[in-house]
């Protein structure tokens, strides 16, 4: 009961400050991204406009605003491993597992993130990549810190994590758009795009949109067969191999 009360108080007092009542009207260009056999990444456009709160009687909102868009992919359990030099060879000796780690994470913002808001506020809302690694972990604080940073670096090198601090462009005081190219290595699954509107270092509006990255047609059929009917799938692979081998022999026999 007391917890509920506390929650209520937090909700009441953290409500948007008076005078900055704004809402976000936004959209995303694709609600599904289809993985076909020629899938080589896809470009997405996010756009929106900042409008007065409905029913507030305001005619217009006053800027300047900052917009931050956080795109999150499906979560996976992921490990980061470290190789060390033992007995003359390099082998994986230490590892830290990160449960429910985003498989894809990109932040687009209209300005440098640390100029937009305080680092604590950004971390609380999981806007900085590091926030995803710094969740409680049985490996202990120091190891989580080191391995988490390396994991984020590895993810960034593969284009799965990224921060584009000039990714959001304002076309007028209130209308913005942003483009994001999803790489072909982006894993299939449900994605969430969370858009935050900042003013004077505070979040004054937020909205989230979902889109899905899905294998379709033949790719979907293959991937589903492999996981749902593994025995039949394996047998099909063997029959295909035997047939291809036989056909090759027949075609090229002199």
């Amino acid at each position: 009961m007391s917890r509920l009360l506390a929650l209520l108080l937090i909700v009441l007092f953290s409500a948007v400050p008076a005078g900055a009542a704004a809402r976000l009207v936004s959209g995303v260009s694709n609600d599904t991204i289809q993985i076909t056999s020629s899938f080589d990444g896809e470009r997405l456009t996010f756009f929106g406009t900042i409008a007065p709160e409905a029913g507030s009687g305001q005619r217009y909102v006053e800027g300047p605003f900052d917009v931050v868009i956080v795109v999150l992919g499906p979560t996976q359990d992921r490990v980061a491993r470290e190789k060390t030099h033992n007995f003359g060879i390099w082998l994986n000796t230490e590892q830290v597992e990160f449960k429910r780690f985003p498989s894809y994470f990109h932040v687009l913002s209209s300005r440098r993130l640390l100029e937009i808001a305080d680092i604590n506020l950004l971390n609380q809302n999981f806007i900085l990549p590091e926030a995803h690694a710094m969740v409680p972990n049985i490996a202990g604080f120091m190891k989580t810190l080191v391995f988490g940073r390396e994991l984020i670096r590895l993810m960034s090198e593969q284009g799965l994590f990224g921060v584009q601090e000039n990714g959001v462009r304002f076309h007028s005081d209130t209308f913005y758009s942003a483009q994001l190219t999803l790489p072909s290595s982006a894993p299939p699954g449900p994605y969430i795009a969370q858009t935050y509107v900042f003013q004077n270092g505070e979040i004054i509006a937020r909205k989230s949109e979902g889109f899905a990255v899905r294998k379709i047609a033949f790719e979907r059929f293959l991937a589903q067969s492999a996981t749902q009917y593994p025995l039949l799938y394996g047998i099909a692979c063997v029959i295909l191999a035997l047939f291809t081998g036989w056909l090759g022999g027949v075609l090229f026999r002199r």
Partner: protein, 308 residues
């Protein structure tokens, strides 16, 4: 032209896949080996995750060995009785290999074991083959007629119990070494994604004294059956067989093998074996360097489970 691989979940150039399939197929046709020991490393070095590479190449090896096995069968070059013993023990070994594969993958040591396995196995076989080929080349250059050891010469292997008569191979030997060879090749082959023909052939010739006219055919028949079983086991156990990847490799491989076989007729046996030995050693050295040299990045990552 990019093609999306649904199990590996990445897109790769189609011509690259068919190309390396064809190149490796050419070499496998030239030397009469399956080519798995070249394809698996090539795929791993070009970015395909090791589990997917190993499991998919297993399927490609089936295709690459089928046409050879069929043509040997037509010519009566397969000792089915001997092959049956090898296949049964090979499948048993593959069970162990696939189970070990899953355990190692979860523990993060699969890449290490694959690298060490390639270094030890290929290094050992490569050195033996090179020695033998160089000796034969030198002797033939001096004009000395190479006297092969006769197939009926006895060794300790012929003193073992449970002897069985293999009519086609004209052998009356214990089944123990036969089963041991099958078991070993099944285990190593499924773990490393290789057919093991280049281990099987010398083992049959030098250990069991199987006559030359049935060695290749019997080995090929064993590779087809054992790798087929391994493909199914990988599909069930780790679900990492990418049928599209395997198919692209098969198409390139079966075509390349035909040209390789034609080219092989212009080279002499010792020269071929010498070249194959160099190739095998090169792969072993490449893996050895990756173990010994400081890696570019001491950190790596892997997905342990997918939460949807």
């Amino acid at each position: 032209m990019q093609i999306y691989l649904p199990i590996a979940e990445l897109s790769v150039n189609l011509f690259f896949l068919v190309g390396i399939g064809g190149a490796v197929g050419f070499l496998s046709g030239l030397f009469g080996v399956g080519g798995g020991f070249l394809l698996t490393p090539l795929l791993i070095f070009s970015g395909v995750p090791a589990p997917v590479a190993v499991a998919s190449v297993t399927g490609q090896v089936v295709a690459a060995s089928t046409s050879g096995a069929l043509s040997h069968y037509r010519r009566g070059g397969i000792d089915l009785h001997l092959a049956m013993y090898l296949i049964l023990s090979g499948i048993l070994g593959a069970f162990g290999g696939v189970a070990t594969f899953s355990v190692l993958r979860a523990a993060g040591q699969l890449d290490l074991v694959i690298a060490v396995g390639f270094v030890v196995l290929l290094g050992f076989v490569g050195i033996l083959m090179l020695q033998e080929a160089v000796r034969a080349l030198l002797k033939s250059r001096q004009g000395v007629v190479v006297r092969e050891r006769l197939p009926n010469q006895h060794s300790w292997i012929h003193g073992l119990p449970w002897r069985v008569r293999f009519k086609k191979s004209r052998l009356y030997i214990s089944v123990l070494p036969v089963l041991a060879i099958g078991l070993f090749i099944g285990f190593v082959g499924s773990l490393l994604g290789i057919g093991g023909g280049f281990v099987m052939v010398p083992a049959l010739v030098y250990l069991l004294r199987v006559p030359g006219n049935v060695v290749i055919g019997t080995s090929l028949a064993q590779v087809v059956a054992m790798m087929a079983a391994t493909t199914i086991m990988h599909a069930v156990q780790s679900q990492s067989v990418d049928i599209l990847l395997a198919f692209c490799l098969m198409v390139g491989g079966t075509a390349g093998a035909q040209f390789g076989a034609a080219a092989g007729q212009h080279l002499r046996g010792e020269q071929l074996r010498g070249l194959l030995a160099l190739l095998v050693l090169a792969v072993a050295i490449r893996f050895g360097l990756s173990l010994v040299l400081a890696p570019d990045d001491v950190f790596s990552m892997a997905v342990t489970s997918v939460v949807r």
